[in-house]
Symmetry: C2
Subunit: 506 residues, 2 copies
């Protein structure tokens, strides 16, 4: 039996190797590759993806999984062995539902639609993108049809990013967020001028930004033996192994922003860095879901990186580095990096309004898939909801419905995990506060070792061993709940904007 | 038939994708990867190599090749189609001779021996490396035994790097080189003090070196859309496509040397850059052999980069960039970069003595494989020959028999191609001089377009379509011949060292 298990592990190890190399090829494409490599790289990535997929959905893997049922039952549920067999079986059964031709067609259509989207966005011309979007939606319907019927078809899409979660559950959480945040944002917007963020705009030399962010990363636990950081256009975290974590960030010389992007990616990187060594070269060596992953990036970006204790430690180090900050005091800077201001572009949104950008997309995705919104009406629906939730007018589709890449590659079901990650981050944060009562003091002293260790012990080490809900249950003792997140936002913004009545009311 | 051909091309395309991605993973390992990625990277490279090999030696490829015999005969011999089938059949038949278990054992033993070699070299302890070398030699014997008997067993080893060339042919060429160069070097060594290269030592700030080498590369034809250049420890050229060429170089702040390494790698890169687009994503999209590849790197490093016309153009640009060169005139600098001086380390050797380093290794390899030298006597044999050929004493094995990596991975048969490349470079250069009578003027004007175009038209575009001997015949109208190379060295060094009688005698 152990031999059969080792066979499975060896075969999965090869598949992991292929996927890790694909991650490298993609990282390279976005950070190092000369533009001339584009066409060949697309072929290389397609080949790696196809071979990895073929090997994974093979009858041989199915046979091994079947033979290993008794072995799995003998092992403790949370052992590496039982977990690897259990999670692999779920992955395998799911992957086997989709005919290879359909997978290939989705990939191909996505690549074509991506190119069309780039062009359409450039020209702010939704109608040019419409036929490709239509194809993507049709293909997604065919994809959904491959699976057993679920409560609603969006369940299938969400499962690709948040295994086991139902659309109804996500909706309940996000409607709670929306119902609380829309009025909060309205109130904050009225007081928008109370917070001045002009100190974040001006001359911020790139070399100094990079030097300082390395100071922060070093404190966070970035070690050059296992990490690297490179500039890119759309930041992401990647890597080829637990001990080869690659962050990317983007830099602007005329405003201070990149540090938050870098801290965000650090959170993703740390999750993968701290997965148990015993899961090396297995499919479990990743985060449990998108929302759990996002909870980690948001935690380091916002709960740590936009907190008052953090800046009590780091602002005295930052301020002397930039002439622009010469006469800006800590409080002014802290308020600036926490300013809430409705805006057009999701990736530039503040901590609060960000969620409404997500909820809008989540709602539209469901309506697109159910047919409730004809695709031709999408820009109109987008713009109306932007007005309703954030009170702003969308001047054109490039800054509206065409701004995100996700729908071009058919990534429906992805968006909600961003806000669910925010929600989860504060549920976890509350547990950490209980375990580390002096967390604020530690952060104020620039010490992150205990925080890192707690996350490693209670979340990171497990990788993908458990389903996300199960992981969350073990971690915070209950299901996803927006309450703590809403309280956190109201407390924090209440403090900054002096909305004591709001804070008190929660 | 065309369908069968397209099937073959598709299957080979996937194998090329895997090999290109492996090249990327290796490039990354030597330029970007955090050290923590080492172990996982070794697994990833092994997996890619194994899958590419399995796919290539499959019965399916054999069946397609067999079915395509009539199609091949219908196509012109030098067509892409006939060439792809012909070259692939040779590769396939060769690869099929070696049992996968033996290939795997050679790879594994090489990896283990490499680690032992690194350690042994550090401690200058040949005896610590000896058992691993012994294993490598035994495995190479088993490898040779997989093939039909040849005139001598070294033929099989040489064929891996220089397809179709016999050891006897290489020997004839290299013995010619040796017989002429040993006395020449002796004579030059006596006049060593005539050439002062102290101007190459001193303060050469790295940033300025890099800025200037980019000036040279830009003139050579390096375009950022399709090339990149990164620092590494042991320079090499690589890439993932015809339009993604990656050079590496190494830099020293206390001497001026890196430019020559960079120009060398540019020569390799240009060969692959100019292979016909119609051979994209096929196994023909590479150089025809190691010696032809090396002819290109040596050409740009030495025939171009150490020539008087080259420095007439570039020295006025180089000199003002470095304070160290303030009072160094063109002639002094030109003589310095061409100084001939016997030394211990191959990779630091000058244009002339380099060949003796190679010939020594070539001879020892043959004697190792034939058993003429017991492995225990290798250091002694090495040192005796260093004395005989270059007149120098080897102080320890680290600077002697342990200096090169090649024997650690079992790369017997590789060394001779370096000097054969020198030989070929001048045979080609003579053809270029006939075709471009004003080549010196072009180089003096910093113009390399016609040279590049000639190389593209007469050599590069063909990739691996022809066997190396056949390619050389087409290119220079005859077989490999050391005569032109020896004449070139004597002329050039005769001019620099004032040995008019030597130059006249040839």
């Amino acid at each position: 039996m152990r031999q059969t298990y080792d066979d499975l592990k060896t075969q999965l190890g090869e598949i992991v190797d292929l996927r890790r190399v694909a991650a490298l090829a993609s990282w390279d494409q976005h950070t190092k590759m000369p533009p001339g490599g584009q066409r060949a790289r697309a072929e290389q990535l397609a080949t790696l993806g196809r071979i990895a997929h073929e090997r994974f959905v093979s009858d041989e893997i199915g046979r091994l999984l079947e033979e290993l049922r008794p072995y799995e039952e003998q092992q403790p549920y949370d052992s590496d062995e039982a977990s690897l067999i259990r999670v692999t079986r779920r992955d395998w059964e799911k992957a086997r539902q989709v005919p290879p031709e359909l997978s290939a067609e989705i990939t191909r259509a996505g690549a074509i639609a991506y190119a069309a989207w780039v062009e359409a966005r450039k020209n702010s011309d939704f109608s040019a993108f419409l036929p490709y979007l239509k194809t993507n939606v049709e293909l997604k319907h065919r994809y959904v049809d491959c699976f057993e019927p679920t409560d609603e078809l969006y369940d299938v899409l969400l499962d690709d990013f948040e295994p086991g979660m139902k659309a109804a559950e996500a909706r309940a959480v996000l409607e709670h967020v929306r119902s609380e945040l829309v009025p909060l944002i309205r109130e904050l917007a009225e007081r928008g001028d109370d917070v001045d963020d002009s100190s974040l705009y001006g001359d911020f030399p790139l070399a100094t930004q990079k030097e300082f962010e390395q100071v922060v990363l070093d404190r966070f636990g970035f070690e050059t033996s296992s990490w690297r950081l490179d500039p890119t256009v759309h930041p992401f975290a990647s890597g080829t192994a637990r001990t080869d974590i690659r962050l990317t960030s983007r830099y602007f010389a005329d405003r201070y922003e990149s540090l938050f992007s870098t801290m965000h990616e650090f959170g993703h990187g740390l999750y993968e860095r701290q997965v148990s060594e015993s899961l090396d070269r297995t499919p479990l060596q990743r985060g449990a879901s998108m929302s759990l992953h996002e909870s980690q990036s948001r935690m380091w970006e916002n709960l740590v990186g936009r907190s008052h204790p953090f800046w009590r430690h780091f602002y005295p180090l930052l301020q002397p580095r930039f002439a622009r900050l010469g006469d800006v005091d800590l409080e002014t800077f802290y308020r600036a990096v926490n300013k809430v201001q409705p805006s057009l572009i999701r990736v530039e949104a503040d901590e609060v309004t960000y969620n409404l950008h997500i909820i809008l997309r989540f709602e539209l995705e469901q309506e697109i898939m159910s047919g409730a919104i004809p695709l031709t009406d999408l820009p109109e629906a987008w713009n109306a909801r932007m007005k309703e939730y954030l009170g702003i007018d969308v001047p054109n589709d490039a800054q509206g419905v065409l701004q995100d890449v996700h729908w071009s590659f058919g990534g429906f079901g992805y968006f909600p995990t961003y806000s669910l990650g925010n929600v989860v981050s504060v549920q976890i944060w509350e547990r950490i506060r209980e375990a580390l009562p002096d967390l604020d003091e530690q952060i104020e002293n620039g010490e992150f070792g205990a925080l890192r260790a707690w996350l490693g012990e209670h979340l990171h080490q497990y990788g993908r061993k458990f389903m996300p809900q199960e992981m969350l249950e073990r971690l915070v003792g209950g299901p996803m709940d927006a309450g703590p997140y809403i309280r956190y936002l109201k407390d924090k913004m209440g403090g900054i904007y002096g909305l004591t009545e709001v804070a008190a009311a929660t």
